[in-house]
């Protein structure tokens, strides 16, 4: 009130000046006149809003009321005015008496007198709204920046107008490199053309939706690499026209997880083992294809039902015991048990059980794999049975051989012995034929005895364990040769035995081999002069092949394969005696060593017998 009095005092009513004074007093805008000294000279009542008395306002330079931060700008504006530039809507803050600030918007025209005529409007409220809007904008910006999804806004011309930080990170571009660019920059080339159509379709019927629609989408990074994405589209209407906000998620991890899950699921489905999930209470939760095959129940017959239908009565307690052990944290690995199929048949299975726990470690279920080992078990049982049968047969053969050795020879001894007794005691009562027949009886008995011995050797070869060691074959051959020399001294056979022959085999059986081969060579050279027998080694398919060669009667190669059969003889008994068992024995010994035996010969031109001793030598 006092202010307005002051104003009225300087303006005579009734005059045009006085009318102006009315406006001065009425104005809701602040009006003031300041002097060259920087102090207000006059202020209108609107200045009351600041809370000062007029005297207070006029007593100090107006800059004192200006917010310290706004002083430099205010000074600059005053400077401008002084130079003749008008002030329009210059804003600064004035301090109120209560210490608060009001935003004032100033309009002023320069005056040559050096005085300032200015009008200020209180724009504090407008300012507040702007500040609030700016703050809201800033918050929104921060939210957009902080979004875990990439966010890209594209205008109707497919030009990128906004990019958030996550989008920068996803694609490897800074936003400066993206804003203003076509969105296709972020697509793999193969998708770019069709993308135009997709955008057109979307804009023709814009609605919020996912983008993929059954297709796999990929983004293209600045470095050219691609990554799978999921994109949500939101149409927004802006003053500039229809825009689209695309929200982009990198789904590489999810894809990898899905693939891993798919792979695992395939493994479970295709496994040869039954893989079964169940709750702790024994309710089946999963049942794979092999479970269907092994147990005969379909998944829909089992899932949700009790697993105990698989347990034969004798194994009823097993499941509870297993669960108890799993609860205690024990693992149950590979135990063999019996389960019952849907058709009632019991099968042998090998089962492994593991616990399924939630993230806090609590037991929530059980996973078990079961393998059908019925076949295996059957084979095992058959194998054991076959082995027992073979062993029994072997024992029987052994006692049979033992009896043969003893009991078959005794009568032969009588036949021979008493024939000889007859020849000795009753020679005078027998004529030449009679004596000849008795000699035949004796020869037959002795041949029979030899046959028995050879058969026993052959059977021993089959029965005895093979004890392989490094054997000096040259020494074996020399031993046999010495024995032959003793039995028939003065034969004058030239024998050449290669030194240092070594083989890997059973020394006793190999001695039998040389007895037979050298014995044969000795025998079949008996009808010629200049007999020669050679023992040596050659190479056959990279393996050493030992041979015994003679220049005796030889044989017809037509019959080469018959040589090694039992009782097979290529010579008549009157030419060369023999039982026809020797080479069969040799072959059996060589075969037992994993080797091969064969012969080459020509009638009248000698024979060569070769043998190898199996694969073991290759390592030497």
């Amino acid at each position: 009130m006092s202010d307005s009095t002051t104003l009225h005092a300087g303006a005579p009513p009734g005059s045009s000046h006085g009318e102006l004074e009315r406006f001065f007093a009425m104005s809701l805008d602040m009006m003031c006149i300041a002097g060259a000294d920087g102090c207000f000279k006059r202020v209108n009542p609107a200045f009351d809003a600041l809370g000062y008395s007029t005297d207070e306002l006029l007593s100090r330079p107006f800059l004192d009321f200006v917010h310290p931060d706004d002083v430099p700008a205010t000074l600059a504006e005053v400077e401008k005015l002084a130079k003749g530039a008008p002030t329009i809507h210059f804003e600064n803050r004035y301090r109120c008496k209560d210490g608060s600030y009001r935003w004032l918007s100033w309009t002023s025209a320069p005056d040559p007198s050096g005085k300032l005529y200015a009008i200020a409007r209180d724009v504090t409220d407008i300012h507040g709204e702007q500040e609030a809007r700016k703050a809201a904008d800033e918050r929104l910006r921060l939210v957009v920046e902080a979004l875990p999804n990439g966010l890209i806004t594209v205008n109707a011309a497919r030009t990128i107008v906004l990019v958030n930080r996550k989008a920068e990170e996803l694609f490897g571009y800074s936003r400066d490199e993206l804003v203003g660019e076509p969105i296709e920059k972020l697509l793999p080339e193969r998708f770019r053309t069709q993308h135009h159509d997709h955008v057109r379709n979307f804009l023709a019927k814009p609605q919020t939706r996912g983008m993929s629609a059954g297709r796999d989408l990929f983004g293209r990074r600045k470095d050219g690499t691609e990554f799978p994405v999921e994109i949500g589209l939101n149409p927004i209407a802006t003053p500039e026209g229809q825009s689209t906000v695309a929200s982009i998620v990198d789904i590489s991890e999810r894809k990898r997880g899905e693939e891993a899950r798919t792979r695992l699921a395939a493994i479970v489905t295709d496994s040869d083992d039954a893989i079964i999930g169940r709750t702790i209470d024994g309710i089946v939760t999963s049942w794979n294809r092999s479970a269907e095959r092994i147990f005969g129940y379909l998944a829909e017959e089992m899932v949700g039902h009790r697993i105990t239908v698989l347990f034969p009565p004798s194994r009823r307690d097993e499941e509870a015991q297993n669960t108890e052990r799993l609860m205690k944290g024990e693992r149950i690995e590979h135990f063999e048990t019996v389960r019952k199929r849907k058709d009632g048949q019991e099968i042998d299975v090998a089962v492994t059980i593991s616990s399924v726990r939630d993230s806090s470690g609590k037991l929530i279920g059980v996973s078990k794999t079961a393998r059908d080992i019925s076949e295996l078990k059957r084979s095992q049982r058959e194998l054991v049975g076959a082995k027992e049968t073979a062993e029994a047969a072997n024992r029987e053969l052994e006692s049979f051989s033992y009896s043969v050795a003893h009991d078959l020879r005794a009568p032969l001894r009588s036949i021979d012995g008493f024939s000889q007794a007859l020849l000795e005691d009753c020679a005078d009562k027998l004529d030449e034929d009679g004596r000849k027949y008795l000699r035949f009886v004796r020869e037959s008995a002795q041949l029979m005895a030899q046959l028995i011995d050879d058969m026993l050797t052959l059977s021993r070869v089959t029965r005895s364990e093979l004890a392989r060691e490094k054997v000096d074959l040259s020494a074996l051959a020399r031993t046999t040769h010495a024995r032959l020399e003793r039995s028939e001294p003065g034969r004058g056979v030239e024998v050449a035995i290669e030194g240092g022959l070594e083989g890997d085999g059973d020394p006793r059986l190999l001695a039998v081999v040389f007895d037979n081969l050298l014995g044969n060579a000795w025998k079949f050279t008996s009808k010629r002069t200049g007999a020669r027998v050679e023992v040596g080694t050659t190479t056959q398919n990279g393996l050493p092949a030992y041979f015994v060669r003679d220049n005796g009667a030889g044989f017809d190669m037509t019959y080469a394969t018959k040589l090694f059969g039992v009782f097979q003889r290529l010579h008549a008994a009157h030419e060369f005696e023999g039982t026809g068992v020797g080479l069969a024995t040799v072959q059996r010994i060589v075969h037992r060593h994993g080797g091969r035996v064969w012969a080459e010969g020509k009638v009248g031109d000698g024979a060569t017998f070769y043998f190898t001793l199996g694969e073991k030598e290759r390592e030497e």
Binding site: A405, D407, L412, R413, G417, S419, A421, R442, Q446, A449
Partner: protein, 153 residues
């Protein structure tokens, strides 16, 4: 030639009468004139040696010069006879020659393990058989010096 020892008995343990006949013939052909006592089974052989059963009246200190022992015998087989002999103080040093049909390795090993002094296979060829018996007689009845009866060291 063997007059010095022809009073000592040869104990032939043999169940086959024909083999017995042949053995006796071979001994005779070899001029071995010692008395031969024949036991037909293992029990009979032990009874003779220990002067019991059918042989109860025999002076037990008179032991044979050598025993020709077959392996396959009724009642008690040759190896059992041998085992029993070797466990008894009176007979543990008595010369025992196993004279049998077979040379099954298991018999050879067990025979020698139980303390046989020799192991001879009876050849089917009687000429060879006679030669074997001749050499046996020569060795065990003439050449060999027997340990004192009772086996005192």
């Amino acid at each position: 030639m063997n007059t010095a020892h022809n009073d000592r008995v040869i104990l032939l343990v043999e169940d086959n009468p024909k083999d017995e006949e042949l053995t006796l013939r071979a001994l005779k052909k070899s001029n071995i004139l010692n008395p031969v006592v024949v036991a037909r089974d293992g029990v009979d052989a032990l009874d003779y040696l220990f002067a019991r059963g059918a042989h109860a009246g025999r002076p037990p200190s008179a032991l044979p010069q050598v025993i020709l022992l077959d392996l396959k015998l009724p009642k008690l087989d040759g190896l059992d006879v041998l085992r029993t002999l070797r466990l008894d103080e009176r007979t543990k040093l008595l010369p025992v020659v196993i004279l049998t049909s077979s040379v099954e390795e298991q018999d050879l090993v067990r025979g020698y393990s139980l303390g046989a002094n020799s192991y001879v296979r009876k050849p089917v060829d009687f000429v060879q058989f006679s030669e074997a018996v001749r050499q046996l007689g020569l060795y065990w009845l003439v050449m060999n010096e027997v340990a004192p009866p009772g086996g005192r060291p």
